[in-house]
Amino acid sequence: MTRTLLKKLLITPDVEEIIDKIPKDVGSFGYDPWGFRWESAKVGLGLFKKLYDHYFRVTAHGLENVPPKGRVLIIANHSGQIPFDGALIGVAVATNPAGPRAARAMIERFFPTVPFLGNLLNQVGGVIGDPVNCIRMLRREEAVIVFPEGVRGSGKLYRHRYQLQRFGNGFMHIAMTEKAPIVPVGVVGCEETMPSLANIAPLANMLAVPYVPVTVPFPLPAKVILNFGKPLHYTGDIDSEEGVTQKVEEVKTVIRGLIEKGLSERKGVF
C-alpha cells in the first residue's frame, strides 16, 4: 500500500516518459548483472528528479558533451559527505535532452556490506568501485560515473572545499585500455550541502566507515551547478605510470577550470 502510494507520487508521467526513452539492457526480471533494477531506478529517478528540480535547483551546462550512446567515463570532483553529486549527475544524464542515458556510478567498497543500503544503491545504478566492474560495464557500452578522489573528496572538511584532492590513476588506465572517452564534470554546490567541520575518526574506525563528519543533520538546499566539459580522448599504449599521472593531471586541470566556471556563474550559495 505504502509502496504503491510512493510509486504514484514519485513516478510521474514525465519520469515515465524519460525512462521509456532510455535504452535498457536487462534480463527477464528487469535486472542487470550488477543488480540494477528498472522498477527501483524509476523510483530513484522520480525522487531525485524532485530534489534536482526543487531542492538543489540544479543547473546543468554542456550536457550535449555526453555521447548519447557508447562507452564513456564521466569524471567529476567529489564532495558533500553524502554523495548527492553522483545522484545529481545521474539525473542530469538521465534527463539529457541530447540523449538520455542510465549512467552507472562507482560507489565505495563498504556499501555492499551495509544492510538495505548496499542493495538499494545497486538497484538504482550504483556499482562497487572495482576496476573490473568499470571495464565490464564499458564493454557493455555503458556510461560510468567515477570520482577519482574517492572518500578523500567526499569526506573532506568544509575548509578544504573546492580543493581537488589526489586523483587515483585507475580511471585513466581504464580509459586508455578500453578506448573510452572522458567527459569531465565540475560540480559546484554539493560542498555546501553538508559542510563538515571535523571528522570523528575513532568513531569512524569503530563503525568501519571511511568518516563520521560533524555536520548538519540533513543536507542544506545549496544551489548546484554542473558543468560538463568536452570529451577528452586518450589513446595509445601506456608507457609509464608517470605518463599516466601526467594525463590524470590534465583531466584534473580541466575539472578545476569547470569548477571555477561554476563558481563564477553562481550568484549565491543558496
Partner: protein
C-alpha cells in the same frame, strides 16, 4: 571368523549385469542417481554407449545401460575400467552435505576424484568432463559482477566447508596440464534447479518458508537442469578442453526468486554476521547451510560468455519456467 565384507566388484556384479562389447568405447557418467546425470544420460544415450555409476545406489536407467554402485575410494572402481572400454568420463557425482562430517566429504569428493583421474590416465581415457560450481569463487562483498574463469577462487577463504570444491578444481587443473591427453573440460555452472534437483538450491526452492537475511537481497543466476544437461552434451561433443562458467545471460534477485516460486521469506537478522550462521547450524538447515549463507547475502555473478561462444550454447528455458515448476509443485502438494 570375521564375516567377509562384500567387495566392490561383487557390488558391481550385483548391479545391472550388462556386459558390453563396445568397440567404439563407452562414456562413464558418475553421480547417476542424480537428476542432472540422468538428464545427461537421456541426451547422450541415443547416440552413445553409457556406463552409469553412483556411490549411493545402482540406478536402473535403461536395459542397455550398465549401472553400478561404487565407492570411488575402493579398489572396485578399477574393475569398471577393466570391464568396459571407457573413452570418456563425465564426472558429475559429488557429495554435497555429509552428516558424518566434512572430512568424509573431502575424501569422497577430492581423494575419490583423484583416484578416478588416475584411472582415466592409466586406461587412456580420451576425454574428461568435470562438474564444478560457481561456489568456488566465493560470495564476497567485494566481488565484481560477471566473474570470468580467471578470477581467483576465494571460496575457501570464507569457510572450510567449501574447501573440497576448490580442491577438486585445483586437482582437475593439475590433471588438465599434467595429462593433456585427457582433454579435460571443467564446468562451473551457476545454481542448477528444476524438476527433481536435490542440491541446496533445489531443496530451498521446494520449501514453502525460507530465511531471508535482513537487509540483503543478492542478484542470482539459475540454469534449468535440462539446459545444464545440454551444456554437458555440447562439452562432450565439441571436446574443447579448458575451464568454463555456465550461466544464462539473465539475473534475478533472491526475493523475486522466492516470490515467483511461491515461497514466503522470513527475515533473519544478518548482524552480527555470526548470528545467522549460528541459527543455521543450530537448526541444521540443509537448504540454507551455514557455509553457504554468504551466497544469500552477496551476489556471485558469473560470466558464461566464454562457454556460450566456444560451444554455441544458449539455454532454452527461462528463469520463469524454473520458478513456475516450484510454484506449481507446491500447489499440487496442497491439492
Amino acid at each position: 571368523m570375521p564375516r567377509k565384507k562384500k567387495s566392490e566388484t561383487s557390488q558391481a556384479a550385483e548391479a545391472c549385469a550388462c556386459p558390453v562389447d563396445a568397440p567404439e568405447g563407452e562414456i562413464l557418467v558418475t553421480g547417476a542417481a542424480g537428476v542432472l546425470a540422468q538428464e545427461t544420460i537421456a541426451k547422450l544415450h541415443p547416440k552413445y554407449r553409457i556406463v552409469a555409476v553412483d556411490f549411493r545406489r545402482a540406478v536402473e536407467i535403461g536395459e542397455d545401460i550398465p549401472s553400478y554402485r561404487i565407492d570411488f575410494l575402493k579398489r572396485g572402481l578399477e574393475d569398471i575400467f577393466r570391464k568396459h572400454r571407457i573413452k570418456a568420463v563425465i564426472h558429475l557425482g559429488r557429495i554435497g552435505t555429509n552428516p558424518q562430517g566434512g572430512f568424509l566429504r573431502y575424501n569422497a569428493n577430492v581423494i575419490g576424484t583423484q583416484k578416478l583421474f588416475d584411472l582415466c590416465a592409466k586406461y587412456k581415457v580420451g576425454q574428461v568432463i568435470v562438474l564444478s560450481s560457481f561456489f568456488v569463487y566465493g560470495a564476497n562483498a567485494y566481488n565484481p559482477a560477471l566473474l570470468n574463469e580467471d578470477t581467483p577462487l576465494k571460496a575457501s577463504d570464507l569457510t572450510l566447508n567449501l574447501i573440497d570444491s576448490v580442491e577438486l578444481e585445483n586437482l582437475s587443473n593439475i590433471y588438465m596440464y599434467k595429462y593433456p591427453d585427457l582433454h579435460m573440460t571443467i564446468l562451473r555452472p551457476c545454481n542448477i534447479a528444476g524438476p527433481g534437483v536435490r542440491n541446496n538450491i533445489g531443496r530451498l526452492l521446494s520449501m514453502k518458508v525460507v530465511p531471508v537475511l535482513w537487509g540483503f537481497n543478492p542478484v542470482m543466476q539459475f540454469i534449468h537442469v535440462k539446459d545444464m544437461a545440454e551444456a554437458i552434451m555440447l562439452a562432450y561433443e565439441k571436446k574443447v578442453p579448458g575451464v568454463y562458467n555456465v550461466a544464462p545471460e539473465d539475473w534475478v534477485a533472491y526475493k523475486d526468486v522466492l516470490r515467483r516460486s511461491g515461497i514466503k521469506g522470513i527475515p533473519l537478522p544478518s548482524i552480527p554476521p555470526a548470528f545467522p550462521r549460528f541459527i543455521s547450524r543450530a537448526l541444521r538447515w540443509k537448504a540454507f547451510p551455514s557455509y553457504l549463507i554468504n551466497y544469500f547475502k552477496y551476489p556471485t555473478i558469473i560470466d558464461g560468455g566464454k562457454f556460450a561462444r566456444t560451444f554455441g550454447f544458449k539455454p532454452k528455458r527461462s528463469l520463469e519456467e524454473i520458478f513456475t515448476h516450484y510454484r506449481e509443485m507446491k500447489k499440487r502438494a496442497f491439492l
